[in-house]
């Protein structure tokens, strides 16, 4: 039988050549990295994310005012509007909005990354097991996942957080929000990983490994995981933005992050009543929230294009 790649209409550049990229011995990962570095969307997204992470780690680099020090607030300065001393104005307590927005990045980034990592590891791990072993393991895990999947996300999170209660939320901080979001989001990752594993496990190279006598562990870790994980990386990156906006939403509704921790969602909630008289109070945290979500979505899109061009 022929090796011809033209199988059917619509015709593609059928007899397409082997990619001959510069910088020879190249794994598929480094090929993807090569593509990423040449992608403008990735560069913009990555620079933004880098700045945001830097902001989360070292807020003092961006603001000389320590937003967590109550001494920096002055009730007399409340809702002052944009001034030379307060670039983004001040809030109801007379605290500097600019420094609060900068310090608020930490919570958002932390919730986003922690939730994405936890859902990635838990959902990915269980998806790998479900897809690889199939049969009752798959049925059990898939059914459990479907139960969680059926819960409307915002409603579920509201419910969990209101049951856990404000006191616990204060004590455990971001972890409560992270766990609530992760609990609802892992089934999505499981499903993606499971599908990806099932298609990888029927590949000839897996059969070849079995014929060599490779055990389940080796087949899963060496052959299936590296070939199945790309969609999970893509989804997790895209989800990061979703988790960040979810945290803001929950905090806005009063069940997420609790004061005195600074969160963009809380800041927006504080600002909403005074929107007409002091729009800058709402505008700046909302703007940074949007930029953050956008940055992760751009990053996710670029990663998807690089890892799996077919999904575009």
């Amino acid at each position: 039988m022929s090796n011809e790649m033209t199988v059917a209409p619509p015709p593609q550049p059928a007899e397409a050549p082997q990619p001959a990229k510069p910088g020879k011995p190249a794994s598929l990962w480094s090929d993807a990295w090569y593509d990423l570095r040449r992608n403008k969307v990735f560069i913009i997204g990555a620079v933004l994310v880098f700045l945001l992470v830097l902001m989360a780690l070292f807020p003092s680099l961006f603001s000389h005012v320590d937003a967590y020090n109550p001494a920096t607030c002055n009730l007399a300065n409340a809702r002052q509007g944009v001034t030379g001393a307060h670039w983004f104005g001040t809030d109801n307590q007379g605290c500097d909005t600019y420094s609060r927005v900068i310090y608020g990045a930490r919570v958002s980034i932390l919730v986003g990354i922690l939730t994405a990592v936890i859902t990635g590891v838990v959902g990915g791990g269980l998806g790998l097991v479900a897809g690889f072993y199939g049969r009752w393991v798959d049925i059990l895990l898939s059914r459990v996942a479907e139960i969680f999947f059926a819960i409307p996300a915002i409603l579920g999170a509201l419910l969990i957080l209101s049951v856990v209660g404000r006191d616990n939320s204060q004590k455990w901080g971001v972890w409560v929000v992270v766990m609530a979001l992760a609990l609802l989001a892992w089934p999505l990752v499981l499903r993606i990983m499971r599908a990806s594993v099932i298609s990888a496990k029927n590949q000839d190279y897996v059969v070849a490994a079995r014929a060599l006598g490779a055990g389940s562990g080796r087949i899963m870790m060496r052959h299936i995981l590296p070939n199945a994980i790309a969609p999970v990386i893509v989804t997790s990156t895209l989800n990061l933005g979703v988790f960040i906006s979810a945290e803001a939403g929950l905090s806005f509704l009063g069940v997420g992050i609790q004061a005195p921790t600074i969160s963009w969602g809380l800041m927006i909630a504080d600002a909403r009543a005074r929107f007409l008289s002091a729009p800058e109070m709402l505008l700046f945290p909302a703007l940074l929230l949007s930029i953050t979500v956008l940055a992760f979505v751009m990053l996710g899109d670029a990663v998807r294009d690089a890892l799996d061009p077919k999904l575009r």
Binding site: S2, N3, T6, A8, P9, P11, Q12, A16, P17, Q18
Partner: protein, 348 residues
């Protein structure tokens, strides 16, 4: 409703033969693909011609440009990434490449039709096969539903699908591979095309089914005096059905010959190598002759003759000068500087 006998202006009438002009002639065709890695020169100056009732086999392996040439004739190349920088495709003497999209679509499928390798993906899975065949008549011939359906049954009979009447409302997946290929053929000959291009029509099929399909194609060609272009890599299939052969390598024609001449006495080292590498009974147990090296990368085509890195007849000249198609006789030509040596059976 459109009267089928009225041809669009500027297009040649059916059966109107210009003197000295073959039914279909590809002349110095070039096709390139613009990819991220660079420009792939898939077809580099291909010329061949086809007369009515004739079977031309285009023989080549993957990357030889044989399918791309066919897609260019059909006008189904995606442009971009494909580009046709030079060349003509003359149908009854009219250059198809100069026609408007509208005129082109009058020819595609109606007067030049194509059968693909993978019938399953070429058929629409959500419509019955009868509906898909009948649609050809409804759309292009303006027939009523009932008439079109009757024609569809006739056509299914003609390609010998058993129980056509009963199976007309079945879906493509309910047919076997060979039957699906028959349905594809039925659709392609529905409008009595003058040229039928079959791109590896039997590659996905078993030998016994392959024999059925090749027999069917030969009969249909004879009945309606179609010109048939058979694109394949299979030296056996070619020997069975072709009248003449164009051998392609690296986007060029390397040899043109009538079928008997080619097998008896190849005129190009590549053809010769292919023929010699066929396992033969009398040479069992011995090492097969193998062409060394591998097919060229379209992005980094060898200089001069594309075959020279693999060629046993190679001289210095071959790496610098692209060999033209030297005429060996009235019907034969070879793109080898040293065709005489190959032809005379000179030693490798």
């Amino acid at each position: 409703m459109r009267n089928p006998s009225v041809e669009t202006q500027g297009l040649p009438a059916r059966g109107a033969h210009a003197a000295d002009e073959p039914l279909l002639a590809v002349d110095n065709l070039h096709v390139e693909f613009h990819t991220r890695q660079g420009v792939a020169h898939a077809v580099n100056g291909v010329s061949y011609s086809l007369n009515a009732g004739e079977t031309l086999a285009v023989l080549g392996e993957s990357g030889s440009g044989k399918s791309v040439t066919a897609q260019a004739i059909m006008g189904i190349l995606d442009m971009p990434p494909a580009r046709i920088p030079a060349g003509e495709i003359r149908f009854h003497g009219t250059d198809l490449l100069k026609l408007s999209d509208k005129d082109r679509s009058q020819i595609r499928g109606q007067r030049i039709a194509m059968v693909f390798q993978d019938a399953l993906s070429a058929l629409n899975p959500v419509f019955t096969v009868g509906w898909q065949i009948a649609e050809m008549f409804r759309v292009h011939r303006g027939m009523s539903r009932g008439d079109a359906r009757k024609k569809a049954v006739e056509l299914m009979d003609r390609v010998r699908i058993p129980g056509a009447k009963q199976r007309i409302d079945d879906y493509p997946h309910q047919f076997s591979g060979g039957m699906r290929q028959r349905i594809m053929i039925a659709m392609s000959i529905a409008l009595d095309p003058e040229v039928l291009i079959a791109d590896e029509p039997t590659t996905a099929l078993d030998v016994t089914v392959q024999a059925q399909i090749m027999e069917l194609l030969a009969e249909l060609r004879q009945e309606s005096n179609m010109g048939l272009i058979l694109i394949t890599h299979d030296l056996g299939v070619v020997a069975d059905v072709a009248d003449k052969i164009a051998v392609m390598y690296g986007g060029r024609i390397v040899e043109n010959a009538p079928v008997h001449d080619l097998y008896r006495n190849p005129g190009h080292p590549y053809t010769k190598g292919l023929l010699e590498s066929i396992p033969r009974v009398d040479l069992k147990g011995q090492e097969l002759y193998a062409i060394k090296g591998m097919p060229p990368n379209l992005l980094e085509m060898p200089s001069g003759c594309a075959f020279h890195p693999r060629c046993p007849y190679r001289r210095d000249e071959c790496a610098t000068a692209v060999p033209p198609l030297y005429s060996i006789s009235g019907t034969r030509s070879s793109a080898c500087h040293y065709w005489r040596e190959v032809f005379d059976g000179g030693s490798r």
